[in-house]
C-alpha cells in the first residue's frame, strides 16, 4: 500500500522522499515547466509534464510549435518575421551567450506566426522567441 510520501528538503534542490517506509533522494532543478529531476541515477527533463505550468513549453509535435531560449543570452540576430516561410533546420534566431553564438533552428517546416524577441534583447531560458504554425 502506498501512503502519501513524506517529503523533506535536505539541501538546495535535494529532497528526501519517504514512501512505504523507504527513503529515496530526489534532486530537482530548473524553473517553471523546464524542470529537471534526478532519481537513482536517472535524469528526467520535464517530468510529469503538466500543461498548467507549461505555457512556454517547446512543442516538438503537431503543426503548431514555438522555439524558446535554451539558456540565458542576448539575441544577436533575428532572421525571420511574422509570415516568413521556414524549413526544418533553418536558423531563425541567433543567441549569444558567454561570447558564443547559438543558432536557434526550426524543428520543422512552417510559417512564422509571431516573433517575440528583438535584436539586443536579453532573454531568459524557456522564454518563447518565435512561434511557428
Amino acid at each position: 500500500m502506498s501512503d502519501t510520501p513524506e517529503i523533506i528538503r535536505i539541501g538546495e534542490g535535494v529532497y528526501r522522499v519517504v514512501i512505504d517506509g523507504r527513503a529515496h533522494f530526489a534532486y530537482v532543478a530548473g524553473a517553471g515547466a523546464d524542470l529537471w529531476l534526478h532519481w537513482n541515477g536517472q535524469v528526467f527533463h520535464r517530468p510529469f509534464d503538466d500543461e498548467r505550468f507549461d505555457r512556454q513549453r517547446t512543442r516538438s509535435v503537431g503543426a503548431h510549435q514555438s522555439l524558446s531560449a535554451p539558456m540565458p543570452g542576448t539575441v544577436l540576430k533575428v532572421h525571420v518575421e511574422a509570415g516568413s516561410a521556414v524549413h526544418q533546420g533553418d536558423t531563425l534566431v541567433i543567441l549569444e551567450a558567454m561570447k558564443m553564438e547559438l543558432p536557434i533552428r526550426s524543428a520543422g517546416d512552417g510559417i512564422v506566426k509571431a516573433v517575440h524577441c528583438h535584436e539586443g534583447e536579453l532573454v531568459q531560458p524557456g522564454v518563447v522567441l518565435v512561434e511557428l504554425e
Partner: protein, 500 residues
C-alpha cells in the same frame, strides 16, 4: 625546481595540474579564452592570463599568445596537458627557445613519434612488433596472394594510394582470394588511379592495451604497467582500467619490455604511453600477439587509473623530471595493487547520437564515496560551452578487485546528479552492467557494433511517488534554490513536511 608553471590547457586537466603545483609549492598560472573567464581552472590557479577569443585557434592553440603569457608572468616552465598543443613539436621547441622548460619529452622525440609511418619504422627497428603488413614488390595476383599468406589470415588488402575504406577487402582464407584481390585492385584503380595494393594482417576483435612509461634525464626509464582502454566509441575511449582483465604476467612482461625499448629508441624523457592492439583470439599462454599502434608523447586523459593502482602521482613526477631531478621511483619499487576503473562523463546525449550538449549546470553534485576520485573542471552553475571537448569529469573508482571497483564506480555514477544538460552517465552505467564488460571481453569495435543499443534511452517515466515532489517544487510549495526560511532546514526542524 620550477617556480612558476604556466598551464597551457583548460578543464579538468588544468585543475589537476594546478593541484600538483600547490603540493610542490609551485605558483600555477592559468590561461583562458573569453569563454572560460569564470571557469574552474581559472579559479583554482594562483594567477590567470587571458589568451583571446573562444575558438581554440585564437586561444589554447595560439603559441604566440601562450609564450606572451609566460613572459608576462615570468613563468619558467609550461605544462601542455593533453590535447591542444601537447603533441606539437613546434610548441615544445618554441618553449625551449624562449627559455622555458617544457613539461614533456624533447621536441625531437615528439616529432619522431608524431608521424605514424615514422613511429612504425622506429618501433620495428627497436624490435617492437607492428601489425604485419607491406606493399609487395610483385603486384601480380600470385604476388599479392603470397604476401597474404606471409602476413597470415584473416587479412586485409587495401589500396596503397589511399584510405577511407576504398579498395579495402577482407580475405578470410586462400579460397576465393584471387577474385577478392582482383576486385580490390579494380576498385583501387578506379578510386585513386593506382591499383597498387597493400596487404595487412586483420585483427578481428582487438583489445586496446597501453603501457605507461616514464623516463628521466639521468638515463632511467621505467614502466607503470598497463591500462586497458577497449571500451571505445568511434575511437574515443569511454572507460579505462588498470590492470587489464585479460593480461597474463608473461604478456605484461613482454609488452612492458617492448614499450621501454620503443621509448629508449627515441631518447624519450618524461611521461609517455605506448598504445598496442592485442589479439586475445590467438596464441595461448603468453604467446598472445600484440602490435604497436602509436606512442602518445604526453600525459593521458586516463592517467588516474595508473596513479590509483601504482600509488603514484604522475603529474608531480612530470614536474620533478622536467626540473632535472631523477625519477621518484625505481622499477622494483613499482607494483600494481588493487584495481581502478575510470569512466569519462561527457556533456552529450546518447539518445541523440551522442550530440554534444551545451548549457548551464543547474545542479551538479559530485559523489563523495570511499575509494572514489573525481577529476573535474566544472562546478554547479558553470556553463558548458560548445567550443571545446565536452568532458565534464572523470570518475575513478578503486577497490581490491575488479568486480568491487566496477560496483563502486556504478554506485558513484548513480549518485552523481547533473541537471540542466544531458550527460552520458546512463550510457556508462548500462555499459558497466553488460556481460561483455563484466567478463572483460569488450573489444575496440564492441560499442560501435553490438553495443549500439546501450545508447538508446529506455524512456522510463519517473516513479509516481516523485510526482508530489515535482509538483510541490513547481507550485513553489517546497522552497528551491536556497530561498528557504530556516524553519525548513531539516537540521533545525526535525519534522518532515508532508505535502498534500
Amino acid at each position: 625546481m620550477i617556480e612558476r608553471l604556466l598551464i597551457a590547457n583548460r578543464g579538468e586537466i588544468a585543475v589537476r595540474i594546478a593541484h600538483a603545483c600547490r603540493e610542490l609549492g609551485i605558483e600555477s598560472i592559468a590561461v583562458y579564452s573569453d569563454a572560460d573567464a569564470n571557469a574552474a581552472h581559472v579559479a583554482v590557479a594562483a594567477r590567470a592570463v587571458r589568451l583571446g577569443p573562444p575558438p581554440a585557434s585564437d586561444s589554447y592553440l595560439n603559441i604566440h599568445a601562450l609564450l606572451d603569457a609566460a613572459r608576462m608572468t615570468k613563468a619558467d616552465a609550461v605544462h601542455p596537458g593533453y590535447g591542444f598543443l601537447s603533441e606539437n613539436a613546434a610548441f615544445a621547441a618554441a618553449c625551449h627557445d624562449a627559455g622555458l622548460l617544457f613539461v614533456g619529452p624533447p621536441a625531437n622525440a615528439i616529432a619522431k613519434m608524431g608521424s605514424k609511418i615514422n613511429a612504425r619504422r622506429v618501433a620495428e627497428a627497436a624490435g617492437v612488433p607492428v601489425v604485419p603488413g607491406h606493399t609487395p614488390a610483385d603486384q601480380s595476383d600470385g604476388g599479392i596472394i603470397g604476401a597474404l599468406e606471409s602476413v597470415g589470415f584473416p587479412a586485409l588488402v587495401k589500396a596503397s594510394a589511399g584510405g577511407g575504406g576504398r579498395g579495402m577487402r577482407e580475405v578470410r582464407d586462400l579460397a576465393g582470394a584471387e577474385a577478392i584481390v582482383q576486385s580490390a585492385r579494380r576498385e583501387a584503380q578506379a578510386a585513386f588511379g593506382d591499383g597498387t595494393l597493400y596487404v595487412e594482417r586483420l585483427i578481428d576483435t582487438p583489445h586496446h592495451v597501453e603501457i605507461q612509461i616514464f623516463a628521466d634525464t639521468h638515463g632511467n626509464t621505467v614502466h607503470l604497467f598497463e591500462r586497458e582502454c577497449s571500451a571505445q566509441r568511434r575511437h574515443q575511449k569511454v572507460i579505462e582500467e588498470s590492470p587489464s582483465p585479460l593480461l597474463t604476467p608473461v604478456l605484461r612482461q613482454r609488452m612492458t619490455d617492448a614499450a621501454i625499448r620503443a621509448a629508449r629508441a627515441v631518447g624519450y624523457v618524461n611521461a609517455g604511453t605506448c598504445e598496442f592492439l592485442v589479439d586475445f583470439s590467438r596464441g595461448a599462454n603468453g604467446e598472445t600477439p600484440f602490435y604497436f599502434l602509436e606512442m602518445n608523447t604526453r600525459l593521458q586523459v586516463e592517467h588516474p587509473v595508473t596513479e590509483q593502482v601504482a600509488g603514484v602521482d604522475l603529474v608531480r613526477a612530470q614536474l620533478l623530471v622536467a626540473s632535472g631531478e631523477p625519477l621518484p621511483w625505481t622499477q622494483p619499487s613499482l607494483v600494481q595493487r588493487g584495481h581502478a576503473v575510470e569512466a569519462r562523463v561527457y556533456a552529450e546525449d546518447p539518445a541523440q547520437g551522442f550530440l554534444p550538449q551545451a548549457g548551464r549546470l543547474l545542479l551538479y553534485r559530485e559523489p563523495r564515496h570511499p575509494g572514489v576520485r573525481i577529476d573535474s573542471g566544472f562546478r554547479e552553475g558553470d556553463t558548458v560551452g560548445v567550443h571545446y571537448d565536452a568532458l565534464l569529469a572523470k570518475v575513478i573508482a578503486t577497490a581490491e578487485t575488479r568486480d568491487l571497483a566496477i560496483a563502486r564506480l556504478l554506485s558513484a555514477l548513480r549518485d552523481f546528479p547533473i541537471l540542466g544538460i544531458r550527460t552520458n552517465i546512463p550510457f556508462l552505467m548500462r555499459l558497466l552492467e553488460t556481460e561483455a564488460f563484466r567478463s572483460g571481453t569488450v573489444h575496440t569495435g564492441f560499442l560501435d557494433s553490438e553495443g549500439a543499443y546501450l545508447a538508446a534511452d529506455p524512456a522510463a517515466a519517473p516513479p509516481e511517488f516523485l510526482r508530489d515532489v515535482v509538483n510541490a517544487v513547481r507550485e513553489q510549495r517546497l522552497p528551491i534554490e536556497g530561498a528557504a526560511p530556516s524553519s525548513w532546514d531539516p537540521w533545525v526542524g526535525t519534522r518532515g513536511w508532508n505535502v498534500r
